[in-house]
């Protein structure tokens, strides 16, 4: 290993192992298990200075000294740490420390100086006495008491001393724990901020110290009261120990001061945790702590000027505190208030003053030997005042909590932010024409409101309630605040709407300005969402409007064949119309093919558009006070639309135009049936009569009549279901719309209609259908009402005669088919041959209209006709009565229905089911 710079000492040892001795290169023998001589190269001396380099650790044991300060950064802390360290041993020997209490040095000094954690056995009387002088006059009294105590009996003091020692010991232990925690906190704070303005701090320290002393006093007094309440060990009445009462009182006060200090320390900890981000608070706390620590230093090193400064400052503080308003809560609360310590509530000051006065008075009386009652009264008064103060603090605390609760979202979202968002949301809801944009909700709301008792006072079309969940139009019970919010929202909405309108007007003016004279249309709404052409020329308008496009196909997308067929039918219709108009007589006939499905549907869709427009127009009906012209214009528009509807309905086309008549074809679609009531709502009486006449005249052409036979089949096929649906639609819509006409019709009209029904139409087939039967029943009842004379008009005898003729004719036509009028009879024919008596569910309710019709018929029938009725329906009646009486029924309901049906008919005849005997 010559390259190491060491002697090759291994040559001799490993010589025999080395095979090649003349090799100059060193042979590396790492990893070999035998000795390779490296260990000899290790230098293991010069260890003498290790302790100096690395520091003497001393005895290493398992008990870690938490109290020891490892980092000596600040002089004060170090000094205080040393002081504390030094304090530890003396405190362990409590009796010694306590003994020193009762020396000439006032015990208060100990407690006051160690206001947070330090308890110096070395009481500096000058410092302490100066502090005492700073406080209220009671301090002077305490001094006097101290002197008194010195002159008092030693034995009694010792006895009391032992008790107090125990108490103090416990308290000191508590103090120690708290002090440890606080010291750690302290160190953290101090390490965080190293250099501050020390002078300012010291001034502040002194101020705060004085304030803390005040707080301490107050807390002690409160604790005194608490102790008096809760602890059994009560202060013996003063008369028992007149001499030692004062020291005991003093002791209580000392304890209170201690506890006050504890609480103070706890408060500081809490504040630290809560307001760490606030430098100011941190500073204060640090200042507080360093103040406490530094307050020790002046004591240990009595520096006159410092104490004098403190005195002066404390005097100033007293003045300041008396002036400062009590706005903060007391020191007891751990509420996150920033500077609670520097500002004392007035009540606390008041309390302190009162208590101090009280104590003063007590002491004085002690000395003067006043009666017990007065002293008790004073104590009671003090307690009462303290309780009052506590109540007030409680109230203040609650108020502060409420404010904190209200402002808990501060800086997250201001009221203006919330309003902004509300406005955005509301603006989405706003629309110019709510009925067009949100038709179903509006109508639904209207329906619900009308059902809920017509509480639709203000027809606010923009129904926020519907979207917001508030009851539609109904007064909100618990929504005292809601009306205000709603009003606000409505105001906002109105503002938005008016702004939008103004904008539109502007746009209109603007567009007029820029696009005047252009043949085309511009978009109405703002089209920021999707960019559109400024001008949209409608190329798909009617062929005649544009000469260039007329020759082209009507529309690029629709095939020529279709367009041609359409145009042809259109041409035919036009020709028919023109023909009618020219001849002034609607009798010219242009025979057409029945409308194709496509044509029907197209017509119906157009009808729907017209109806929607009419309804929209109806809603926009101007008020009479808006002026004659506006009303006139509106009427014209309205009438034009209605005329268009009328034309589209094709009612005026001649009867024989096609089979079925176009109007009837339109009604063959369910859509057509449903739209009829909406259309006829706007027609006048004359048009309605025409419509009704046409309908009755072509009644048998209706799909429901021609397909009615399907309803008698028993199996549930889609076709049957379809017919059923159509029939239902017809009954509910078409009949509903013509009902009012018939009900008010005179005898002649009814006569004519019944005649139409029979003329050239299969009345039997009509009667076998539900709608037809309903219609017939309607006619009959109307005539009955007329006959009973409850109508305004007075029909002439000719009318009656005419009616009688009709009636007889009808009767005659229907007589052979009476049994077959019943669905039950018809359905029974479809039953399988081997089971002729299957009970079809619900058959009786199907039969009921038939019984009604027969009853109506019987009412007007002559006796001859009665006989015919009875004979033809005998089987049926007996059948029903028998099954009802013999119990061939499923349930009670069915039985009652059967009997009711039969009775309907029999009563009209003047008979009753009970008369039938089995």
């Amino acid at each position: 290993m010559s390259f190491f710079g060491f002697e090759e000492r291994t040559l001799e040892r490993g010589k025999d192992r080395r095979s090649e001795q003349d090799e100059d290169l060193a042979v590396y023998t790492w990893g070999e298990e035998n000795y390779d001589g490296l260990g000899d190269a290790l230098q293991e001396d010069h260890d003498d200075l290790n302790d100096e380099t690395f520091g003497a650790v001393g005895e290493l044991g398992k008990d870690f000294d938490f109290s020891n300060q490892a980092l000596p950064d600040r002089k004060n802390i170090t000094r205080s740490a040393n002081a504390i360290v030094e304090d530890r041993p003396p405190q362990s020997s409590t009796p010694l420390t306590l003994e020193s209490i009762w020396d000439d040095k006032s015990p208060f000094s100990l407690r006051l100086n160690g206001s947070n954690r330090t308890q110096l056995p070395r009481g500096e009387s000058p410092a302490i006495s100066s502090q005492h002088r700073q406080q209220s006059g009671i301090r002077t009294l305490q001094e006097i008491e101290a002197e008194m105590r010195v002159s008092a009996d030693q034995s009694r003091q010792e006895a009391l001393l032992q008790q107090r020692q125990q108490q103090y010991y416990l308290e000191q232990q508590r103090l120690q724990q708290q002090q440890q925690k606080q010291r750690e906190e302290e160190e953290l704070l101090l390490r965080q901020e190293e250099e501050r303005e020390f002078q300012r701090q010291r001034l502040l320290y002194q101020q705060e110290q004085a304030q803390q002393l005040h707080l301490q006093r107050f807390q002690q007094q409160q604790q005194l009261l608490q102790q008096r309440e809760h602890q059994h060990r009560r202060t013996p009445p003063p008369r028992m120990l007149p001499v030692s009462q004062s020291p005991r009182f003093m002791e209580h006060q000392q304890r209170q001061i201690l506890l006050l200090q504890h609480q103070q320390e706890q408060q500081q900890l809490l504040r630290l945790q809560q307001l760490q981000e606030q430098l100011r608070v941190e500073e204060l706390e640090r200042q507080l702590r360093s103040q406490h620590i530094s307050s020790v230093t002046p004591d240990r090193q009595p520096s006159g000027p410092t104490l004098a400064d403190m005195e002066a400052l404390q005097h100033q503080q007293l003045r300041q505190q008396s002036q400062s308003p009590a706005t903060r809560s007391g020191p007891h609360r751990p509420a996150p208030l920033e500077d609670s310590l520097p500002y004392l509530p007035q009540s606390i000051q008041l309390q302190q003053r009162l208590l101090s006065e009280m104590a003063q008075a007590e002491f004085l009386r002690e000395m003067q030997g006043l009666s017990q009652a007065d002293q008790e009264a004073l104590r009671v008064e003090a307690m009462r005042k303290i309780l009052e103060a506590e109540k007030m603090e409680e109230k203040r605390r609650r108020k502060a909590a409420k404010i904190a609760h209200m402002s808990r979202y501060n800086d997250l979202m201001t009221q203006s932010d919330k309003d902004f968002i509300t406005r955005i949301q509301v603006s989405q809801l706003v629309s110019q024409d709510p009925y067009a944009d949100d038709f179903y909700a509006q109508v639904y709301g209207a329906i619900v409101r009308s059902r809920m008792g017509l509480s639709a006072d203000d027809e606010r079309v923009l129904k926020f309630g519907a979207s917001g969940g508030v009851a539609l139009g109904a007064p909100t019970k618990g929504g005292n605040r809601r009306p205000n919010a709603m009003q606000r929202m409505q105001q906002q909405v109105e503002r938005i709407v008016s702004n939008a309108r103004k904008r539109e007007e502007e746009k209109g003016l603007h567009s007029l300005h820029s696009l005047q004279g252009a043949l085309g249309k511009t978009s109405g709404r703002s089209y920021k969402a999707a960019p559109r052409q400024l001008l949209q020329v409608d190329s798909s308008s009617a062929p005649s409007s544009s000469p260039t496009l007329s020759h082209a196909q009507p529309h690029a997308h629709i095939s020529k064949a279709d367009s041609i067929s359409k145009s042809s039918s259109e041409a035919a219709a036009d020709a028919a119309r023109i023909g009618r108009e020219t001849l002034d007589n609607g009798e010219t006939l242009v025979r057409m093919e029945p409308l194709t499905q496509r044509e029907i549907l197209v017509t119906l869709e157009n009808m729907y558009d017209l109806v929607l427009n009419v309804e929209q127009l109806r809603r926009d009906q101007p008020h009479p006070e808006d002026g004659e012209e506006v009303l006139e214009q509106w009427s014209q528009d309205f009438d034009k639309l209605v005329d268009q509807m009328w034309i589209q309905l094709k009612v005026m086309l001649p009867l024989a135009t096609s089979t079925p008549h176009p109007f009837i074809s339109l009604l063959s679609a369910a859509k057509g049936k449903k739209i009829l009531p909406r259309v006829t709502r706007h027609f006048d009486q004359q048009r309605m009569n025409t419509l009704l006449t046409l309908l009755i005249a072509c009644f048998s052409q209706l799909d429901i009549i021609s397909h009615a036979a399907l309803l008698d089949t028993l199996e549930d096929t889609p076709e049957r279901a379809d017919v059923e649906r159509q029939t239902q639609a017809f009954l509910s819509s078409v009949l509903q719309s013509i009902l009012p006409i018939i009900v008010k019709g005179n005898l002649r009209l009814v006569c004519g209609l019944v005649g139409l029904l029979m003329h050239g139409q299969d009345i039997v087939a009509i009667a076998k259908s539900r709608p037809g039967l309903a219609l017939l029943t309607l006619f009959l009842t109307r005539v009955e009402v007329i006959k009973e004379g409850e109508v305004d008009e007075n029909p002439t005898p000719e009318d009656f005669a005419q009616w009688q003729l009709m009636f007889d004719h009808l009767f005659q036509l229907l007589t052979p088919e009476f049994p077959l009028l019943f669905p039950s009879t018809r359905m029974a024919e479809h039953l399988p041959r081997d089971q002729p008596h299957i009970n079809i569910p619900g058959i009786d309710s199907l039969d009921q209209p038939v019984w009604q019709f027969l009853a109506a018929l019987a009412l007007q029938a002559s006796s001859m006709q009665h006989q015919i009725l009875v004979s033809s329906l005998r089987e049926k009646v007996l059948d029903n009565v028998l099954s009802a009486k013999k119990g061939w029924v499923v349930d009670e309901e069915e039985r009652s229905t059967k009997l009711a049906n039969v009775d309907l008919f029999l009563h009209a005849l003047g008979l009753d089911s009970s008369q039938i005997t089995m």
Binding site: H555, H557, I558, L601, E605, N606, A670
Partner: protein, 91 residues
Amino acid sequence: MDGSSSGIQEPFDLIRLSLSERVFVKLRGDREMTGILHAYDGHMNLILSDVEETIMIVNEGEQATVNVAKRKMDMLFVRGDGVILVGFYIV
């Protein structure tokens, strides 16, 4: 018939004619259905009522057979994504 302002202008408008009518819809996944059309939109989403759906299940194999499964529903929303065709359905 075509003269009114909002008439049929493109094939899509022909669906409009079938509103409230029974339509036949062919869907992806070998499905068909018939129902009464109540609403439609640009995506061809459909709202049908009284619907009967027919599903064809093809059995591959030597002899390819087709089984049919039907089901009925009262009210249905059909996503336009899967609609292949819509036609009249005359019972």
